[in-house]
């Protein structure tokens, strides 16, 4: 069982901190090296409107087969140096592990066919959906939900997945409430206490299964957490500064995967992955303008600054004027990656990184906190914390201060009401005790079992 402790950041020189290169690259058996100098496209696709059931599984598999064929053919045509394919399994394909395993086999078979025929190098990331929520959940680490999730991981690994990943949801209900009420204490509790506790147990098991199935434990994401904040902020439902602070706080939670033995690449929709790269040197997948097909963001360019894989998040199999959407997405990604890789080969990666950052960072605090220099500065502060709880607190306070300073010197544009929320959340943060246990007990009293049952997490 791993228990890595990152007491310092992996990068001290900003000039080494760039897309395509990671301090701890992943050398894959097919020759691809992630974080070794080349940015690879990571394509993700999903089904069009259709029900998944035993009766429709043949059609489901046919859809996946059609999508992966289109993607591989386009990748070959565009001479991609290699690619990652990610399948985020849908709930029925995790509740019924065999269905998820069948999908894995269909995808992997076509990928291997293209490698054999055309030497198209590719790697498969399988992401079972974290089904540990809902009315029927008895316990986070025991019972039907847990067993099906673990069986799906194992089956996917045995069926040929190169990487295992998840968008884990421990503490998500708490965090949802935190977001809607801009309650930084509850966000801190969800991320820095419950989420980190949950990921420790979850990732110990994923890493173990990866080792037994000859696959690699890759990484997690705050998709159910900071991305919820991001989407809410982009709809003007909550302040953008809350979403930005939440993002940096979420990095401590996502980092737990690496502490327990994940090697990357971190999941695409975890924009906090840049902090993970800074602290651990692990390669990351990122998404920005390329993922507008799935959701809007304000970080379209800046998200690419540190990307080792460049993703589209997800796209459904529908016909567009240019062809089927997954194939088109792959084409977009391939061209983005080509440009980044040419910039690297001409020694212009830093220039391109800085242009990507400069084009976005001023317009939104969520973009600003992805700027590589800001990432390094905040990461250096985060690692000073001794515990996850302390690190998450530091992440919040350091980000609030950073945004205040940036606003004052004109580096980021904030409306007056956004600035007011920096005061509000700072005041909330100042009320947090230093003792984690005291905080835990106080927060448990503020929740109801339907939102958070500590017994299900073995927290009482």
């Amino acid at each position: 069982m791993n228990n890595l402790v990152f007491k310092d950041v992996c990068y001290t020189n900003l000039d080494e901190f760039v897309f395509g290169v990671a301090k701890k690259p992943i050398h894959c058996t097919n020759g691809m090296v992630i974080g070794g100098g080349t940015v690879y496209p990571e394509i993700n696709f999903t089904l069009p409107p259709m029900l998944i059931s035993e009766a429709t599984m043949p059609k489901v598999k046919a859809q996946y087969e059609e999508m992966i064929h289109g993607v591989c053919a386009k990748a070959h045509e565009l001479h991609v140096p290699g690619m990652l394919v990610e399948i985020e399994l849908l709930p029925p394909c995790t509740f019924n592990p065999q269905w998820g395993i069948e999908v894995t086999k269909v995808i992997k078979e076509v990928m291997m066919e293209y490698e054999a025929k055309f030497n198209l190098k590719s790697l498969l990331r399988m992401t079972p959906v974290d089904i540990r929520e809902g009315k029927k959940l008895k316990h986070m680490y025991r019972g039907e939900h847990w067993d099906n999730l673990m069986e799906t991981f194992r089956g996917c690994g045995e069926a040929g997945a190169d990487f295992l990943a998840i968008e884990s949801v421990g503490g998500k209900n708490l965090h949802d409430e935190a977001v809607m009420n801009c309650d930084l204490l509850k966000a801190l509790f969800a991320l820095g206490v419950v989420g980190t506790h949950d990921m420790t147990i979850l990732w110990d098991n994923i890493v173990k299964i990866a080792g037994q199935t000859n696959s690699l434990a890759s990484g997690d994401t705050a998709c159910g957490f900071a991305n919820t904040s991001m989407v809410m902020a982009n709809k003007n439902f909550i302040p953008k500064v809350f979403a930005a602070v939440d993002r940096v706080m979420s990095a401590v939670r996502t980092l737990v995967a690496v502490e327990r033995g994940a090697v990357g690449p971190d999941k695409d929709c975890g924009y906090e992955g840049v902090y993970l790269k800074a602290i651990t040197g692990t390669p990351i997948s990122m998404e920005g303008k390329s993922s507008a097909c799935a959701h809007s963001s304000t970080v379209g360019n800046i998200a690419a600054c540190l990307a080792d894989c460049w993703s589209n998040e997800s796209v459904e199999n529908v016909r567009l004027l240019g062809g089927m959407a997954p194939t088109i997405s792959l084409e977009n990604l391939a061209y983005d990656c080509r440009l980044m890789n040419v910039a690297s080969s001409r020694g212009k990666a830093m220039d391109m990184r800085d242009m990507l950052a400069e084009s976005d960072r001023q317009f939104d605090p969520q973009a600003y906190i992805l700027d590589p220099s800001v990432v390094l500065k905040l990461s250096q502060k985060i690692v000073k914390g001794q515990t996850h709880f302390e690190r998450t607190k530091i992440a919040a306070s350091a980000t609030i201060q950073e945004l205040r300073d940036a606003h004052k010197n004109g580096a980021v544009l904030l409306e007056d009401r956004e600035v007011r929320y920096l005061d509000i959340i700072e005041e909330q943060l100042n009320s947090v005790p230093n003792d984690k246990e005291e905080f835990l007990q106080a927060m448990i009293k503020t929740t109801t079992p339907d939102k958070f049952d500590p017994a299900k997490y073995d927290l009482i």
């Binding site: 409107p49 259709m50 998944i52 709930p91 009315k135 029927k136 809607m180 801009c182 309650d183």
Partner: protein
């Protein structure tokens, strides 16, 4: 207090304590309890709803206002005769079978409650049978269905079909929403309305019930 402007303003500002004080003052002055609610508290909340819709208020601010309004209503309630204060309507909401996403649905529920509706939230992964049972048990006028996945949106159609089979389709209006949902899809499956966001959902419910 000769008018309710100050009370409405306190609701709009989300000042729960001030709302309580002003409501108590109005009660002490012998003002009509129903007017305190309708012309003071709800009037303030109506402004909040409008401001939220145009992006002038954040969700946490709306929720603060709703809590302030509720605190005022609680003070007035004992003065009302049975049935004098009825909710604006009862709505059953839930995320459809096979789908575990719920924050959008939660947001809609909160906005509807803030606007004076009674909301029965069935949570995620809700079967048609569970929806039907809740509608019957609560005599609901509206059913709100949420889905975030392309593979679960068809469960909305299935739910509407079951409403027909049970003979209660004409008793409830069905609203649908979620990232992959559109007005076209809503029309195709025979829903009564589609709302792209929480503010629109609240407005649409008001229209459908009137």
């Amino acid at each position: 207090m000769n008018n309710f402007e100050e009370l409405s303003k306190a609701v709009i500002a989300g000042q729960e304590q001030k709302v309580k004080e002003l409501t108590q003052l109005a009660i002490n002055e012998g003002l009509d309890p129903l007017s305190i609610i309708n012309d003071g508290l709800i009037q303030g909340m109506n402004v909040v709803g409008q401001r939220f819709k145009i992006g002038d208020m954040f969700v946490p601010e709306v929720l603060m206002c709703a809590r302030a309004m509720s605190a005022g209503v609680e003070l007035v309630k004992p003065l009302l005769l049975d049935g004098e204060i009825a909710s604006k309507g009862t709505i059953v909401i839930g995320t459809v079978k096979g789908d575990l996403h719920d924050i959008g649905k939660n947001l809609v529920g909160m906005m509807l409650e803030s606007s004076g509706y009674k909301v029965i939230d069935l949570g995620v992964d809700t079967t048609p049978a569970e929806f039907i049972a809740a509608i019957k048990e609560n005599n609901a006028q509206i059913l709100g269905l949420s889905a975030l996945l392309t593979t679960t949106m068809l469960a909305m159609k299935e739910t509407i079909e079951v409403l027909k089979e049970e003979g209660i389709r004409n008793d409830v209006k069905v609203l649908v929403g979620g990232a992959p949902i559109s007005q076209t899809f809503a029309d195709e499956i025979g829903a009564d309305g589609f709302a792209p966001d929480a503010a629109s959902a609240t407005e649409l419910v008001g229209k459908l019930l009137n």
